[in-house]
Symmetry: C2
């Protein structure tokens, strides 16, 4: 037995006991006649003391040779500390060491194993096993594990069955690019790695499993944007004999449970908002509603004056920035620069200062009088002391621009407290979205989402207007889950695939197995999938998902630590009947 206790365990009540501890040398202080060592493991830190009077001489000598991150085992007596450390749970005791064994030495680590490390990102990734020793990363992994446990607990208690679905599946053309896996046993054929277990979970519903979930790895061979991994984890769920309302209630329950047990936060019933409303009010289908700053549309009150920019715009829209009237000219100029950055893309910004005395001062005073501007204030909800920021242009674009500005200002104003949680259901998503590049409609969610029955008639006449039984769960401005009520009959599924540009042959070839299944008594069903990586990061109050993943990949999809992907040898290629075509 290497240890009798962990390093987070001993208290005053243990004084007098002989114990064996093991762990890493966090640091040591050598006062000549006395040496203190902080011994660390996952559970905490315990102070060791080597004392010339009370510790065998050779142990003291050996203690002097200990470097940071050496792995040691000590035997000794728990004694009360003279100067207590109130900051750690073991701070009232220390171990008077009688025996010291070095279990493994360590080179000097390339960065400090401290909460605030001196290691840069790349170095920390290369030595990820050292990075994981640091409390922030270690605690993130423990936190992630807890979220997964509590998710499983909640869903199991609700009669959900966790079923494993295959990882080696068939490639389908819809959605993002598939990773493919050549099959040695089936010449010239490939498996794909799943982007989600979508069709399998639907088959489980056809199979009568009634309530399914799985915490499951999924894969997407996309060019990686910042903080997006080629492999990611989903909480994947599906229920039979349900309407949208049943699903929203169930997964509102799950989210509320997680917020309660993981964050200790009680949240009221989640508000709901239609997609159209979210776009209109926040310019965004995943609005952060921790704060207001709702959009005020100004076409009525700002057009038909002499200001051509506005008159020619499809949409004039503004937000009120709390206490923004105090911004200096320079600060406002910087804000204008900010919205004109290519990442945002606005051509300019009009502003109105709402002075404390009720008067207004705007950048377009030439065109608008006080009465006009008072109407702007009313439309944006601005009160004296606020700054109204107004953008104009093509509706879609200007909404996205103003949304970016709204988020940026809220961040600057400290309105995006990661300890505050504001969940929101966004419902009634459009079924289809037009893709300029391919000149056809794509499924906004996926091809299995059902249209709202009352909108079915629009499918032929005005496809873009058809609403879907689809919903997203938004938390603090992030989409953390999305789902839909599915199509469960062959005819509707065939119709939908037709609208997505599939010929009947293609539809049969790709999704025939699912449509066949629908002919044998498929129940009404629907579901949702949560992105676990993002969910964990948000609940954990952090922006980046990478620090909640033990071994993440960098933006080229590379594991910098183990050097994957790598070349495989010619023999393997030959066995797979593949040739490289470089």
């Amino acid at each position: 037995m290497y240890r009798t206790h962990s390093n987070g365990e001993l208290r005053l009540a243990n004084v007098g006991q002989e114990v064996t501890l093991a762990g890493w040398v966090q640091k040591s202080r050598d006062k000549g006649f006395m040496i203190w060592v902080d011994l660390r493991d996952r559970y905490g830190i315990t102070q060791l003391i080597f004392d010339e009077d009370r510790t065998p001489k050779e142990m003291v000598e050996k203690a002097k040779t200990l470097g940071r991150e050496f792995v040691i085992q000590v035997k000794g007596e728990v004694i009360e500390r003279v100067s207590k450390n109130k900051n750690i749970p073991t701070g009232e005791v220390e171990i008077l060491v009688k025996e010291l064994t070095v279990l493994n030495a360590s080179l000097i680590p390339p960065f400090t194993i401290e909460d605030e490390t001196d290691g840069g990102d790349e170095l920390r990734m290369k030595y990820r096993y050292l990075d994981i020793r640091r409390n922030p990363v270690k605690n993130n992994l423990i936190f992630r594990s807890k979220v997964a446990i509590e998710t499983r607990k909640y869903l199991s208690d609700q009669d959900f069955i966790e079923v494993e679905t295959p990882v080696l599946i068939k490639s389908t053309p819809e959605g993002a690019r598939d990773f493919v896996v050549p099959s040695r046993m089936n010449e010239g054929q490939f498996y794909a790695l799943p982007q989600s277990p979508q069709t399998f979970k639907q088959l489980l519903m056809v199979g009568g499993m009634d309530k399914y979930f799985q915490i499951v790895k999924c894969f997407r061979d996309e060019d990686l944007r910042a903080d997006r991994q080629p492999e990611f984890t989903q909480i994947d769920c599906e229920m039979a004999f349900v309407e949208q309302e049943d699903i929203l209630n169930t997964f509102e329950g799950l989210t509320r449970h997680l917020l309660k047990v993981v964050n200790g936060v009680e949240v009221a019933e989640f508000p709901r908002m239609t997609y159209d409303e979210a776009i209109k009010k926040y310019g965004n289908d995943k609005p952060d509603i921790r704060f207001g700053m709702e959009f005020g549309e100004l076409n009525e009150v700002a057009q038909h004056k002499d200001f051509g920019v506005f008159n020619n715009a499809e949409l004039v829209v503004g937000i009120a920035v709390p206490d923004g009237a105090s911004y200096t000219r320079k600060e406002i100029d910087k804000l204008i620069e900010w919205v004109k950055r290519p990442q945002v893309g606005a051509l300019g910004m009009v502003y109105v200062k709402c002075n404390e005395d009720g008067s207004f001062k705007s950048s377009v005073d030439k065109f608008y009088n006080e009465e006009d501007l008072a109407k702007w204030a009313e439309a944006t909800g601005a009160i004296p002391g606020d700054l109204i920021c107004v953008l104009s242009g093509v509706a879609d674009k200007v909404r996205a621009q103003l949304s970016a500005l709204r988020m940026e200002l809220a961040t600057r104003l400290g309105l995006r407290d990661p300890k505050v949680f504001a969940p929101l259901w966004v419902v009634d998503f459009p079924l289809l979205e037009w893709d300029e590049e391919s000149k056809r409609y794509h499924a906004m969610h996926h091809p299995f989402t059902s249209p709202k029955p009352e909108d079915m008639s629009l499918l032929d006449t005005d496809p873009g207007k058809v609403r879907a039984n689809a919903y997203d769960l938004v938390l603090n401005g992030n989409e953390i889950g999305g789902g839909s009520i599915r199509i469960h009959d062959k005819a509707t599924q065939a119709l939908m695939l037709g609208h997505l540009g599939f010929t009947p042959e293609q539809a049969k070839d790709q999704f025939g197995f699912l449509m066949n299944a629908f002919e044998y008594g498929a129940p009404p069903h629907g579901g949702i999938a949560f992105g676990l990586d993002r969910l964990v990061a948000i609940l954990g109050g952090q922006e980046t998902i990478r620090d909640f993943i033990a071994f993440p990949k960098n933006n080229s999809g590379r594991d910098v630590m183990i050097d994957a992907p790598s070349k495989i040898d010619d023999e393997q290629l030959k066995e797979l009947n593949l040739k490289l075509d470089l």
Copy 2:
């Protein structure tokens, strides 16, 4: 809301309530004026009654059109049944239907959805979603889910953290063949799918996670033997600061917990046996110890007589078959045929009948007298009434043959009751095994297993004799888990890789990341991995793992239902810089 209750829920106490149910038509009986329908869902069956006197006429008419597996919704009143069915929990009530809605029709299913189905294997696989509706498969999936939940619960309670390790990793040459995944972002390079998260869990130990587990999919691109899947699931575990004893205790605890909560069986402390002893006593490193029939070695008492076959054999070994003395000549001849089948491969079999009167009758009476045969009986533990079966030849082969015979006879004698559980630790496995084909030693477990310190000196002189700190957990003749104490220092790891035929360059190229990690304070550590598929099947009292997998693949690695793997298009190949070389 599609239903107020499930079909397994209603009892006499609910009589008088108006309820809404939904589910599948299991069967219907049409008596003209009355129609009974068994309505099924995951939770059970509820009987519906359509009655000309009490049900609206058009509902009765509609009920007459219902076919098997139609999905329906009914509203009605819970009434007490006249003739009660004591076999099902809902058997005291039925629903007097007032409203009937057909939610989805069904074609006639290709096989019956009954516990005993008329569907053959292939058909059931092709329509797996229908097969899952059958109780045996459905209950297996629920059982599997329960084993996973209880595993997670037990390990979490013991402070294990579940950490997800990557699926897209680096290909390594040791072990079985890897599935590979071409990387579009890194030309000419490939990921591999993990055969186990071995190196990652060791890095987590170096990273101080202390206790890790994961229930995780692993992959092996092997030719598939019967009931072996290319993707399989492991309960993967690792602990730091442990000796073998700590690991055995921890995972004996897990197994005991599972047997208790999943099977309701209390098992005494698990016996332990060395690998050598298992081979000697049972001819097998995963002996089924639900029954005796231990091997008796007969070289001493059977050689040096006039029987040349035995005199020339490396090993003469027998087992006592309980009550086998009563076998007829014909039955014994059949047994001899059985051991001579190519799958077993014995050249013949000598037998001795131990008569009830204490006398013996053998097939080699010419060479051995009663006194000789009494010694055979003593060595094999045979008592009057038993049959002694004796094989001879090269030790390895003859042990395997006798082991096969032992298992076959035990099956025939009904000694392998799937409701009886006999776990066993097999310890002290050899570190290396000689491979004739490649003319070199291979790691019996894997290259990270540590040799026993006391055997280290044999590494150069007699490598085959070196024992490892390796152990298997055996349950009813199946290896359900295996693990080892790992090497945790660079020098020993390099030495081991050298013995496995790696040049220092190859060792560095393949496992440099791990050996580097060992230089930064790697703690002593070890672990174990359980094959979840096999474990679940054995706990579930069944032989085949396939029926515990929702969507298994056939022996060609194909998913017969969705037709995977399949061809990918030329554009995808081009993007991956691959050419097919058929």
